[in-house]
Homo-oligomer: 333 residues x 2
């Protein structure tokens, strides 16, 4: 174990599109755990769209990352030193230790991975925060029922791919929207959605009409932007929308202005914003079910892996542009 | 009884702002009721914002009024001839007989006013569709609880005035938004809202912040447009929005494009579009409660009355511009 701690800090705040120049790789001190704390060597870092919002000034639903501070992020790591009786060196833990090689956290901020049946990094993706977001959004927020038609955007992504597969297992008709034919074919052939449409298609409006003759009962929205406007047109009367992400606006100078709000009234829609961390009481049941389904091969997943912390900024920029395929990870060791 | 039937028809479809020239007064035949039907002489006509949308081409939540057809509208009238055993000449009935002196309807389309304790026209306003809209929106859609802060737009209007008074009776803190100081003073002094802000005020943003230091739990939205954008900023986390009307867009060439959709996600809002006619099973309980509260003087109301069918178009145009004060009616006889 070296006493070097590589870190990626927020160097400047982006206005509009984020670039690798907004980050800086620095070398920090190895942090020292105090009483009740644990020192963790990070093995995997999760990259997620929400991080883009944390780079902006001003309160969002969480405080922004300070200039010069280490970027926030979920991690899986290995305990190096423990000053808490519940953790021992070698334990694998999930935490939010950020974009760095080592981190220190209070025991209460870490969850030990026990009875592990999946690769470590799956606990950051398909059975981690993104998968649990999918599960809670589908089961609790949308409460999608068998026979209903569900549409999910960013269908090949870490959240969307789980939403659609869970909905299929629950008897829904599932249509995805993704970027490019490779992702769409994967969603249809591997993930077994009933259909997947390419949002870049010039014929998208017609394709939506053909694929959704009776409209959408449940919309799981990960993207926002002009696509969301179009989706509101496709909703059935009394349809439900779980507004989970608005990545289309993440890099925009100004947010997309929604023209079809009136559809919410005319179609009597229910539109619910939700954030997975509001539902801690549902994490365990969601994760247990997801682990079982993934282990049985009934939920599939893909990962895009960047190697080494120095690659994290480029991987993050690429992810926001849709260049990843499935869960975007950084392998740190 | 003459055999003349004055009618106002839709002469041309407005594109943008509606004018009296879009209507035409014509003289039709007195309709003849068939078996099971009732001939009604209309005494009062209700003017409501939804009618503006019915003047447009294309399906809304109901079919448009055909060009040359009589404008739709709720009426209170007196039975002239009945070919149904449940109705007798002289009975007072509520129906949707439109902008005309006489109308014919099947018995099932009429409701008899029995045990009348309020003036006839109140059954088109404070205890009619607008009042029932307020009741259902507050009780069922928002489910506002004592101690919560409720904001209602178009607070001096037929719906908004009832929303706020009911919410006060239910223990809410109630803030209204209305157009002009006369309406605001009425809402504060007569209707006893905790506050009423003038949306035309140059200081509205500051006034909202001062009046709502802890934000809005429940928003009853009757207006839409830029004001709704501003209101989303004022919502508390986990707030609820009943989207009841969007009169701001009614006369617009293009709808206002909503910039703050992201607030729905960040604040985890629930936004529900609703239309009162979806809830027929709640009409009777709502109306009974409203009649009782109005008769006891616990809910107050105002009316703006135009005299004679020929005045209906101008009254309607004025209402969309906010020139009415309380429920806009046309007295037909």
């Amino acid at each position: 174990m070296s006493d070097r701690n590589e870190q990626i800090i927020l160097a400047t705040r982006p206005h509009g599109r984020v670039a690798t120049s907004h980050f800086r790789l620095v070398e920090g001190q190895l942090p020292q755990p105090r009483e009740g704390q644990v020192l963790v060597r990070n093995l995997w870092l999760s990259l997620d769209p929400y991080m883009r919002w944390r780079m902006n000034e001003g309160h969002n639903y969480a405080e922004p990352v300070e200039l010069g501070a280490v970027m926030v992020g979920a991690t899986v790591g290995e305990v190096v030193t423990s000053h808490h009786p519940a953790f021992h060196p070698g334990d694998h833990v999930i935490g939010n230790l950020g974009w760095q090689s080592y981190g220190v956290a209070a025991a209460a901020e870490l969850r030990k991975i026990e009875h592990r049946v999946l690769p470590l990094q799956a606990y950051l993706g398909v059975v981690g925060m993104p998968g649990i977001t999918a599960w809670i959004g589908l089961m609790d927020i949308l409460a999608a029922r068998a026979g209903e038609t569900l549409l999910v955007t960013a269908a090949a992504g870490a959240v969307g791919s789980v939403v659609g597969q869970l909905a299929k297992l629950n008897g829904c008709r599932v249509v995805g929207v993704a970027g490019g034919s490779t992702k769409c074919l994967y969603v249809e052939n591997e993930l077994q959605f009933d259909a997947c449409l390419d949002y870049r298609s010039a014929r998208l409006e017609d394709e939506l009409a053909d694929t959704l003759p009776d409209g959408i009962d449940c919309l799981f929205e990960n993207v926002g932007g002009p696509l969301f406007d179009q989706m509101l047109h496709c909703m059935r009367d009394f349809g439900r929308v779980a507004l989970c992400g608005m990545v289309a606006d993440a890099d925009a100078q100004a947010p997309h202005a929604l023209r079809n709000l009136r559809a919410v009234l005319v179609k009597r829609l229910h539109l619910k914003g939700f954030i997975v961390t509001d539902h801690p009481q549902r994490w365990r049941v969601a994760q247990n079910e997801l682990v079982k389904l993934v282990a049985e091969g009934r939920i599939k997943y893909r990962e895009t892996v960047a190697h080494g912390l120095a690659e994290a900024p480029a991987a993050f920029v690429g992810m926001l542009a849709g260049q990843n395929f499935g869960k975007q990870l950084v392998k740190l060791c």
